[in-house]
Subunit: 217 residues, 3 copies
């Protein structure tokens, strides 16, 4: 367990809450019904952890088994259900909270992968999945192309750098709360600074390709 | 096993058949080829159970392992492949059969979750997933937003109430065929009555939000 | 292990490389950012094997655990990232390589299913999933309807025939490299010949249905 990172359980609940609110907002925008709003909140808040748990064999995943996390996700969805006009105006606060959630989820997910005895590469992949997977599930279920794949914001890249940092520290034996907390802060800072200074990931080299039809079935 | 619910194996096969027909019809409408029609039938008829089995660790899931269920799903897909003009006119019958399938799948799925030793919350989630998950997979694979999330028909909500009912009865020790059958009838009745009286789930509180752009990446 | 099929490890790496290139090309066409291009390459090259491994309980799946396969997928994605204008002109070569990958993936996937003690039916399903699943994941993540389901090219059908062939040979005790290699060649030949002679899978019987609205929620 990594319960030793200061405030880790609290931060994880905040992460689930914020993730669920982002999912519920997407559902509200698409005029889903109340069931769809709760499901999309649940998928966005807990989907990344569920993907991780299924891939490392930690079944049943926390997203269906841990009632505290599930209650938090449902709460986040209902907050958005009732207060979306007001919450949309608080966008800036929520983006910052979401950056915190990304950081915590990434570190917790990477450590969980390592604790389950996966390779370092696998731990990095499930760490990023824990951080960014909920958003992918939210977007697929609401009929959108996953925004993390095309948006060019620095969202997954801070997460990936942080996951690599955790895996490297783990392999040399630095597994203390201080080290893990430092990575959380690093991911958070990179995410917030990239928003502040409008840093972007590059798109395809040499722009748009000419051909239209694919060569692959 | 819950083979003690009267006609349970028969009802489960009917559920897979009807689910597969709904998937194959979606594929026919999109002009998929014969392979796509069979795959979408299989996904719609057996996808809910597969999601459940992967999440509770019951691998390989019945959707790839039980040849009777798979044969039934393929049969349903081919029925729709050959007879879709006629079957579409039998819409009313099929909606009622589908309500029966929803009821059976929900109860069977919830019980299977409980038998695998999950928490009551997890059993409810996998129960609803067993009932409504096949349709979600069908819609995602055919490029649609899952209809159960936005349609406002009472489809998932009867399923969820029934799954909660099963979990509550289970926890107080009422695990008899009579109790489980009563829940099946309850889900079925709620679904059919909601269609008859045009009951709907509510959409987002206070209508459509003003903003267009999301605050979450 | 089926390392006894001649060149099998090499062919598998070629398959992952070609699959990853197809995923990265789809991402380039959609103007994804560099992270999205790598993720789509990884999903297309390794997604089929990951689906298989999750369904048969072989966790963590090779797609997150085997660094050689992952490195190959990332390499394929970056090749496409930098050289897509040139690579698109080599379309014909890549289609042939992809046919080879389909053949190898199908046979390797079916054998892995059988080795994990699944039923023959399950092994056929996971074999086809190994061959064609990466493309399905690529298409869902890039917001497209999976091309293998509607395109009418003979892509999944040679894979399915080959998987059935492997399962039948396995059950009668023919498990030698020669037999497995023959099936690989058979799938490859059927795929290439169907392209050469423009063979197609049939669409829905009796064309497009009249009704528009679905009867299933």
């Amino acid at each position: 367990m990594v319960e030793d990172i200061p405030f880790e359980p609290v931060l994880e609940l905040v992460g689930v809450l914020v993730g669920a609110m982002s999912g519920a907002l997407a559902a509200v925008r698409k005029q889903f019904d109340v069931f769809g709003i709760v499901v999309l909140g649940w998928a966005a808040g807990l989907g990344g952890g569920m993907l991780r748990d299924v891939l490392i064999g930690a079944v049943p995943p926390v997203g269906i088994a841990d009632w505290r996390l599930i209650t938090t996700a449902v709460l986040g969805a209902f907050l958005m259900y009732f207060f979306h006009p007001r919450l949309e105006r608080a966008r800036r606060v929520i983006v910052v909270l979401d950056a915190g959630a990304l950081a915590v989820f990434t570190v917790v997910g990477t450590v969980k992968g390592l604790e389950y005895g996966t390779t370092a590469v696998a731990a990095v992949i499930v760490g990023v999945m824990t951080g960014a997977g909920g958003g992918v599930l939210r977007d697929v279920l609401s009929g959108e192309v996953p925004v993390v794949l095309h948006d060019r914001q620095l969202y997954a890249i801070p997460s990936m750098l942080g996951a690599i940092g955790v895996a490297v520290c783990w392999s040399v034996g630095w597994r203390t709360p201080v080290v893990l907390s430092a990575v959380v802060v690093g991911i958070f800072a990179l995410r917030v600074l990239s928003l502040r200074f409008r840093l972007h990931a590059p798109g395809p080299w040499r722009g748009r390709p000419g051909g239209q039809a694919g060569w692959s079935p």
